[in-house]
């Protein structure tokens, strides 16, 4: 199966996985093994090394932002630079959405981070290259969610209001 991106991982410098998105069907066991192996390799690299490495039959493109590593796996014939660009765009989106994003934002709002990623990439392909339209979609979806939630108060829900 050929998709642009095989998977995307976000993990911390301590080797804690913060986000994972797989664009190809992979067995859980393999996923775990790959994540562990890859984290080890990437974390071992020094800061001033280039962002690419070859691993198994894949190319790994990674970039570190503060304490978080963003790491994508692409295929041999895919373009590394554009993947780097994708990573950066995703970080920008997170930054815009959370307002100078930090690792904790992603930990505690991990589902939001997923929603943003899903608006940005779909099936490993870039869905929309415009930051504005991605953010707009997210905001509107959030609005919808709040509409759902806003009328509720605890008492209402308890049927006492």
């Amino acid at each position: 199966m050929q998709v642009k991106m095989r998977f995307m991982l976000l993990f911390s410098r301590q080797g804690k996985l913060r986000l994972q998105k797989w664009y190809t069907a992979t067995a859980e066991r393999d996923k775990k093994k790959m994540v562990r192996e890859l984290m080890q390799i990437v974390l071992a690299r020094k800061p001033k090394m280039c962002s690419f490495l070859e691993w198994r039959d894949l190319k790994i493109v990674y970039k570190r932002y503060a304490s978080l590593y963003f790491c994508c796996a692409i295929e041999e014939q895919d373009n590394e630079l554009i993947t780097l660009e994708v990573i950066h765009r995703f970080v920008e989106l997170l930054d815009k959405y959370f307002g100078s994003v930090c690792e904790l934002d992603i930990i505690f709002n991990f589902e939001k981070a997923y929603f943003i990623l899903d608006e940005f990439l779909m099936g490993g392909e870039i869905q929309d290259t415009s930051k504005k339209s991605v953010l707009k979609a997210i905001e509107q979806a959030d609005l919808l969610q709040e509409e759902d939630e806003s009328p509720r108060s605890v008492l209402e829900e308890m049927g006492l209001a």
Partner: protein
């Protein structure tokens, strides 16, 4: 009921939400697993409640846990429940959980089809959006089939937000359910021109991905994309389009030309588009941008602080170069220094990329330096992967194109030996095969190799000591074999023999032990031979005893091969011991067991043996078997049945079609059978265009054994039969082909640059053989010749005869003679290998009557005083270089004195020059690299550079030497002449009649003819004579008329048409060089005028 709701809500107030869970996990660092298991229990409780909000919260927490690596597949059904909630908040969580946890084998997916369909058609675009996003992660073939229509409708949705998602997910749907592609494609194409840029880029994405898989179908879209490329400003889209064109251009070359301009524009406009480097390889013109890349790399290497982004540029630049290297090696080679610099980079990714490029960078000059650098890296490397990569690269680089760049094989062997010290490499077998290859093919290196291997065997414990190093013990396989096979070169065979019989050997893998056992026997033979010379016979008996003591260990081996060999050899040794005790000399016979040289044959050599004329390999030899039972039996099965060779003859009336089908099947099988000799009509046709391709003329053979067995066994037998018969020819052909190929590569234009560049050509100089460094190309051919037979390459033999003051040299023999004047005679003579020997005998009998042309003419003068030829020599064109001729001279000392300090010197003419080592003057002689004890002969080779080959030539020379007697030594001198005939520049080259006809038609050839009168010999003798003496090959023969072909070392074609009637032979000849032709014809005439 109300109470239940209330209860649920109250519970919920005290439930953990996601934040609490995350916080909790962070606070329970020590007992995380325990904490999470309690959380999971809670979640299970929550999932049991009816309240959808509680469930959604639980599912959200599960999604988080799933990411941490916990199994949540048990909650799949609850996820579906949450997905189907009508509230967007929950739906969103449900789909997210599904996209993270579901995969194709999740069975609840079947239940989701209707829910997803409902969501897809929801009036709320975000419901639809969330469904599409989720679907993109867990779409199955079933879902794709069921939902393809709905998604297709969505592609025309009013909202661009939905349209772009629908377009993107279509790609996934196509992958899972390819049938959907055809109906959906027109709509997809429409989307390329969608007003919304997001939708447009999505459509470009999808079509690009599709086109990458099957570009042919998308060629028609090229104009559309071209328009997009020139109009779009979106870099992402541009990159995709360029990538698409990269896939399309190979199919439509015109496209390439059209693209150059817009692409160069793009590259100049935005440097980062150059990341679309894939394009560069298909666009030769864009090589311009290579310089840009190089600039980038150099820029980035020059910068003191290597920032990551500069490293990125470096990496990409190297990557781009490796793509360009394939098509334009030259342009990359100019950046060699830069690339070598990158080898020292701290970053492994960059080093690996640079390594890839090295392959194209090496030359004879820098190979050692580069490998040295790599070896340093090997020592430093930490990771096994990188080290293994280095190892394979080193071997790759060194062994590429037949060790083309290796000038010193001793060095290479040492490198290989050094590599064996690597810990934990998986490439032991690679090193082993290189060792074997080099030791077998490079004759001169054997002494050195054997010594090295003996050390290796002696220190085998270092290699095997550690289980991790098991990969490397493969090397012992090679070491044992080399030591056994070439045991005559061993300095201390006894010690090696002991090393090979150590008990520790039994821990090695079986196949290695087997080689040990077998080669121990070979060594044993050598040791016996050495020891039997001694007066004391106990040593030999002790050796046998050693074998008898140690071999039983192997007889008990679990490995069958080891066991079998060991017991055979053990019995043999016991028998030998018995004979020894009776004082019988056995060494000779034991050695005979392993006598004979193994001649390696190129893996493809078999293919080059042509199918003899009249043998139709496709014709049935027996009646074709009947196929009474089933018509639809597989061809394979037919074959299998056929295999038992004498199956009862069956009669069939098989129709033509069936026969054809079977023939096809058989051809197929033959094609896949490496042992099968194939006819290669296609390559024959290609001959004229590429004058260097593998060709072997079809030779008439009579098979002495009837060919009865169909299929493989027959071809095997045939091969064996033919092997001997052809070996000679093949050796000849093969060598020539090799040379030809090389010539093609090095180009004819090289003949003038014998200056520093020719140093480049110094090849396996260290063919320690007889020759030293000043013999460049010869060595390479040596290397190749050893592939087959050694002596056969000799095509042209000239014997020189003469008398020296007190020595007359005869047939390679120096003899004291009374003559007082220097006299030197030279005869040109051409002989086959057998005849050569005969000739030598003739010389001994001072008689030279055998057909050799000029010989008898010049013979007379010498006759009266014991005519004793100086030496036998042979001039041989060097096909690799049209300007070189190799002269091999055999020196034989027939006197009782010791000859030493021989110096060979030739007075250079303007046209021909003896190649001397660098730094020596034009009149210096070459030291013959050996001394001659009485009765010994040896061969030396000298390379001459020849400018023009159209005229025959004689060169005067002298050989000076010191004759050392017991009490005195005298300085002696011997004059001689070397006769370079035009014929000696010709090289027997096979040619096929169609190629021949084409050549004649071409009209580039000048005509000439000659008549020979009074030739009384059968026509085929006449042809054989021309072939043999003048290096022609018969192209075609019809009755008393034959066409012949030959080629000069500088590539002149020489064609002959020979006709005979009665005693008159007329030869019409054509050649692109009239002078050469005239001289060759004169020489032919001379050959026949003497018979």
């Amino acid at each position: 009921m109300a109470l239940k709701i209330v209860k649920g809500s109250i519970d919920r107030m005290f439930d953990k939400n996601l934040q609490d869970l995350v916080r909790g996990i962070r606070n329970h660092k020590e007992d995380e697993a325990k904490y999470i298991s309690t959380c999971i229990d809670e979640i299970k409780q929550e999932l049991k409640q009816d309240n959808i909000a509680v469930k959604a919260n639980a599912v959200c927490k599960l999604t988080y846990l799933q990411m941490l690596g916990y199994d949540v597949s048990w909650a799949a059904f609850n996820i579906v429940e949450v997905m189907s909630s009508s509230k967007f908040t929950y739906k969103r969580i449900g789909y997210l959980a599904a996209s993270q946890c579901f995969h194709e084998s999740t069975d609840v997916i079947m239940l989701t089809t209707n829910q997803i369909r409902k969501d897809l058609s929801s009036p709320n675009q975000y419901d639809t959006g969330v469904a599409l996003t989720g679907l993109s992660c867990f779409v199955t073939p079933d879902l794709a089939r069921d939902l393809a229509n709905d998604i297709m409708t969505l592609m025309s949705h009013t909202k661009p937000y939905i349209r772009k998602k629908a377009v993107l997910i279509m790609y996934k749907v196509f992958l899972k359910y390819p049938e959907s592609l055809r109906p959906a494609f027109p709509r997809l194409k429409e989307k390329l021109e969608d007003p919304d840029p997001g939708v447009q880029s999505a459509a470009v994405n999808v079509i690009c991905e599709l086109a990458r898989r099957n570009p042919k179908n998308y060629l028609s879209l090229a104009p559309l994309f071209f328009k997009l490329m020139t109009s779009s400003t979106n870099n992402w889209v541009l990159i995709k389009i360029i990538k698409l064109f990269g896939a399309l251009t190979p199919l439509e070359p015109r496209l390439g030309k059209k693209l150059i301009e817009p692409l160069t524009n793009l590259i100049h406009r935005k440097i980062h588009i150059f990341s679309s480097h894939k394009m560069l390889c298909s666009q030769s013109h864009l090589i311009v941008s290579l310089s840009r890349i190089a600039v980038l790399i150099s820029l980035s290497s020059g910068m003191p602080n290597h920032s990551a982004s500069i490293q990125v540029m470096k990496y990409l630049g190297l990557l781009a170069m490796s793509k360009i290297l394939k098509t334009h090696p030259k342009s990359v080679q100019s950046h060699k220094d830069l690339i070598l610099q990158c080898l020292d980079d701290k970053d492994e990714s960059i080093r690996l990329r640079a390594l890839d490029l090295l392959y194209g960078m090496v030359s004879k000059k820098n190979l050692m330096e580069i490998v040295k650098k790599l070896m340093l890296h090997v020592d430093k490397a930490e990771g096994t992967t990188y080290r293994d990569e280095l190892l394979t690269k080193i071997i790759d680089i060194c062994s590429q194109s037949n060790y083309q760049y290796i000038t010193n094989f001793e060095w290479y062997i040492s490198i290989l030996v050094e590599l064996t010290r690597l810990e934990g490499t998986r490439h032991g077998h690679l090193i082993a095969s290189q060792m074997l290859d080099v030791a077998i093919r490079v004759r001169a290196i054997r002494v050195f190799a054997v010594a090295q291997m003996a050390t290796l065997l002696d220190n085998a414990h270092l290699l095997t000591g550690n289980m991790q190093r098991m990969g490397i013990c493969e090397v012992l396989y090679a070491a044992a074999w080399i030591c056994g096979e070439f045991s005559e070169h061993l300095e201390n065979p006894m010690q090696t023999l002991e090393a090979m019989l150590r008990p520790k050997v039994a821990t090695l893998p079986g196949h290695i032990q087997a080689v040990y056992v077998q080669n121990a026997a070979k060594l044993f033979a050598t040791v016996l031979k050495n020891q039997e010379g001694n007066t004391d016979s106990t040593a030999a008996q002790e050796t046998s005893q050693l074998m008898i003591d140690r071999l039983p260990l192997f007889v008990q081996s679990a490995n069958l091969e080891v066991q079998e060999r060991a017991s055979c050899i053990l019995q043999l040794v016991k028998y030998i011991q018995k004979l020894q005790q009776k004082d019988v000399e056995v060494a000779e016979e034991v050695c005979a067991l392993f006598a004979g040289e193994l001649n390696p044959v190129a893996p493809k050599a078999q293919k080059k043996v042509p199918v003899p004329e009249g043998l139709d390999l496709d014709a049935w030899i027996n009646e074709p078997p009947s196929e009474s039972e089933s018509e639809d039996e597989q061809p394979k099965a037919i074959f299998a049945k056929e295999e038992p060779k004498h199956s009862r003859p069956r009669h069939t009336e098989v129709d033509e079609k069936e026969l054809a089908r079977r023939r096809e099947a058989r051809k197929q099988e033959q094609a896949n059978n490496p042992f099968y000799i194939k006819a290669s009509p296609s390559s024959q046709k290609a001959y004229q265009e590429a004058p260097g391709v593998e060709h072997i003329p079809v030779v008439q053979i009579d098979l002495s054994v009837p060919l009865k067995v169909p299929g493989l066994p027959m071809s095997d037998q045939y091969v064996k039969l033919e092997e001997e018969r052809r070996q000679k020819e093949r050796a000849d052909k093969k060598k020539k082909e090799k040379k030809k190929r090389k010539e093609k590569r090095s180009g004819r234009g090289r003949k003038h640059d014998s200056g520093p560049e020719s140093e480049e050509d110094i090849t396996p100089a260290h063919m320690v053989d007889i020759v030293t460094e000043e013999m460049p190309e010869v060595h390479r051919s040596c290397l190749n010749i050893t592939m087959n037979l050694k002596g056969n390459a000799r095509t042209n033999m000239i014997s020189a005869k003469g008398a020296v003051s007190s020595y007359v040299v005869s047939g390679g023999i120096f003899l004291p003679v009374k003559s007082s004047k220097h006299k030197k005679k030279k005869q040109k003579k051409e002989k086959e290998e057998k005849e050569k020997k005969k000739k030598k005998k003739h010389h001994h009998h001072h008689h030279h009557s055998d057909g050799g042309g000029e010989e008898s003419v010049q013979n007379g003068t010498v006759e009266e005083e014991e005519p004793l030829p100086v030496s036998v020599y042979d001039i041989q064109g060097n096909l690799q270089d049209g300007s070189q001729v190799v002269v091999s001279v055999i020196f034989e000392n027939k006197c009782d004195s010791f000859l030493k300090s021989m110096e060979f010197n030739v007075l250079d003419s303007l046209n021909s020059k003896l190649q001397r080592p660098e730094g020596s003057g034009p009149h210096d002689g070459l030291t013959v690299p050996f001394q001659l004890p009485p009765g010994v002969s040896n061969e030396a080779r000298f390379v001459f550079t020849v400018q023009s080959i159209v005229m025959p030539q004689k060169l005067k020379g002298t050989l000076t030497f010191i004759v050392k007697n017991e009490d005195s030594s005298t300085h002696e001198k011997l004059d001689f002449k070397l006769h370079f005939t035009c014929t000696s520049y010709l090289i027997t080259t096979p040619c096929y009649s169609d190629a021949f006809a084409k050549l004649l038609e071409s009209g580039d050839l000048k005509c000439s003819s000659v008549r020979l009168e009074g030739v009384i010999m059968p026509f085929h003798h006449l042809l054989a004579r021309i072939c043999f003496h003048h290096h022609f090959s018969v192209v075609e023969r019809i009755d008393s008329c034959a066409s012949m072909y030959s080629r000069s070392i500088q590539g002149h074609h020489v064609c002959l048409l020979v006709k005979t009637s009665g005693q008159t032979v007329s030869i019409d000849a054509k050649c692109d060089e009239p002078t050469l032709l005239g001289n060759v014809l004169d020489e032919i005439k001379q050959t026949f005028s003497q018979c």
